[in-house]
């Protein structure tokens, strides 16, 4: 049914965050089994042909995004630029991503620095969230990464985080795929 494919395309396009198969299924009142092959068909159409829009799997859902290789042109497009992450922020984010659920004290032990300010910033940016309280004296809060974290880095799920061992090799691949144009002070 062609109309269903059209609807899927429109929904994924109009949604303001990645749409999961489950949500598509409940929105369009069709079983996942009918929707999945159509999504895959759309992915083939968009991703195979040097188009300006790709249909990617991210954060447990589907979303249209532009291909990485076009980024130099697209950066000029919108006035609002995202803030760059400080090294402290990235380090903290990495620790939280891999060790979640993790307390502030654990993060600070590893980094050797007070990390309250950085963690507050990450909370405000919605990149991390409170998962609960740890069942130890003082009941400290435990933190983990959020859906927005996956969206930011285009990760389909937390399982897709680069494994700690493999990153040195992955590094090289990435360096090839994305020539590290030294951020010419945008």
């Amino acid at each position: 049914m062609d109309n269903l494919k059209q609807l899927i395309e429109a929904c994924v396009f109009a949604a303001d965050s990645p749409l999961s198969l489950d949500r598509l299924s409940s929105l369009l009142e069709h079983p996942r089994a009918e929707i999945r092959p159509l999504v895959e068909e759309l992915q083939r159409e968009y991703n195979d042909s040097g188009r300006g829009i790709e249909l990617v799997s991210v954060s447990g859902g589907y979303q249209f995004r532009t291909p990485v290789e076009l980024s130099p042109w697209l950066r000029k497009l919108n006035r609002e630029r995202p803030g760059k992450f400080s090294r402290a922020a990235m380090e903290t984010l990495a620790i939280i991503a891999y060790r979640q659920p993790v307390t502030r004290a654990e993060v600070e032990y590893l980094r050797g620095v007070d990390s309250g300010g950085v963690m507050k910033t990450l909370l405000e940016k919605n990149l991390i969230k409170v998962l609960g309280k740890k069942d130890v004296p003082g009941k400290p809060l435990m933190y983990g990464t959020s859906r927005q974290f996956l969206e930011l880095f285009g990760l389909p799920s937390l399982n897709e985080l680069p494994t700690l061992k493999e990153f040195s090799s992955l590094d090289e691949e990435l360096a090839e795929a994305v020539p590290l144009t030294p951020e010419t002070e945008v």
């Binding site: 396009f13 109009a14 949604a15 303001d16 979303q63 249209f64 995004r65 532009t66 291909p67 990485v68 980024s71 697209l74 950066r75 497009l77 919108n78 609002e80 630029r81 995202p82 803030g83 992450f85 400080s86 090294r87 402290a88 990235m90 380090e91 984010l93 990495a94 620790i95 991503a97 891999y98 032990y109 590893l110 980094r111 050797g112 620095v113 007070d114 910033t121 909370l123 405000e124 940016k125 919605n126 969230k129 409170v130 969206e151 930011l152 880095f153 285009g154 680069p162 700690l164 990153f167 040195s168 992955l170 590094d171 990435l174 360096a175 994305v178 590290l180």
Partner: protein, 255 residues
């Protein structure tokens, strides 16, 4: 040996330490503690000479290093060995190794394609993309944290008020709605903070805040925040001519 090192280039003492170990081509598993401690202290001293504030964490690491150094120079008594394990460096090494992993991942993260930096999605809201759709309520995506935070910050900035002084002032939301609209009529677009002058009392802040929420609910005011951390901006969502008609006290239901 001259050090061209600036503390602020390091994200913390672990980072500095790792840098020293690497530039001395040492094995993390077998740190030459005397050498490293000396160099570390030199860096700190230089910073002191330049009269730079050295964060407590850097000093804490210095004392940890000194402690390890002294333990390594002293003959090990059995008691201490039982208490702290064989190699006084062991804990630091473990921390360094783990820290190093995350430091590398952090660098990898920097290289991953980032949304809005390397890849882009359509950045408009659903209401703007769906043809034939009128703009829905200006909804704000937030967690409980964001909301509590907004209010807390506003209240925190006030000087403490005297308690027990119960002022039964009738602060009417409607009156504050009028004030906000007046300001917006002349200025068109104002930052949220512009509405909270120094002189406002706690209850006035709350009522002003409520008046804003009410205006957003009535779709008379747009609230926007162009990016994280930037100011929140308010602007009129309706033509000025329509204002007087819609905000009389009765229509709001506030007596």
């Amino acid at each position: 040996m001259a050090f061209e090192i600036q503390l602020e280039n390091f994200s913390g003492p672990m980072d500095l330490l790792l840098h020293l170990i690497k530039s001395n081509e040492m094995d993390v598993y077998d740190i030459r503690i005397v050498e490293i401690t000396e160099q570390y202290l030199q860096v700190i001293e230089q910073m002191k000479l330049l009269d730079l504030d050295i964060a407590g964490e850097f000093l804490l690491m210095a004392s940890t290093l000194l402690h390890i150094k002294s333990r390594m120079l002293l003959p090990v008594s059995e008691e201490i060995e039982e208490e702290e394990g064989e190699d006084p460096r062991a804990e630091l090494v473990k921390r360094l190794l783990e820290y190093q992993r995350y430091k590398e991942v952090a660098e990898l993260f920097q290289q991953l394609p980032q949304l809005d930096r390397d890849v882009f999605s359509n950045c408009l809201t659903a209401a703007e993309l769906i043809s034939g759709e009128e703009l829905e309520d200006a909804q704000i995506v937030a967690s409980v944290y964001q909301l509590a935070e907004a209010l807390r910050v506003l209240i925190k900035e006030r000087p403490p008020e005297v308690f027990h002084e119960v002022i039964q002032e009738s602060l009417s939301v409607a009156v504050y709605i009028e004030r906000i609209l007046e300001k917006l009529t002349s200025a068109r677009r104002l930052a949220l903070r512009d509405f909270f002058s120094e002189r406002l009392s706690r209850s006035e802040i709350v009522v002003t805040f409520l008046a804003m929420l009410e205006l957003v609910k009535m779709r008379m005011v747009n609230v926007e925040q162009v990016k994280e951390f930037s100011d929140i901006w308010l602007s009129l969502a309706v033509p000025v001519e329509e204002l007087s008609a819609s905000t009389s006290e009765e229509s709001l239901g506030y007596g």
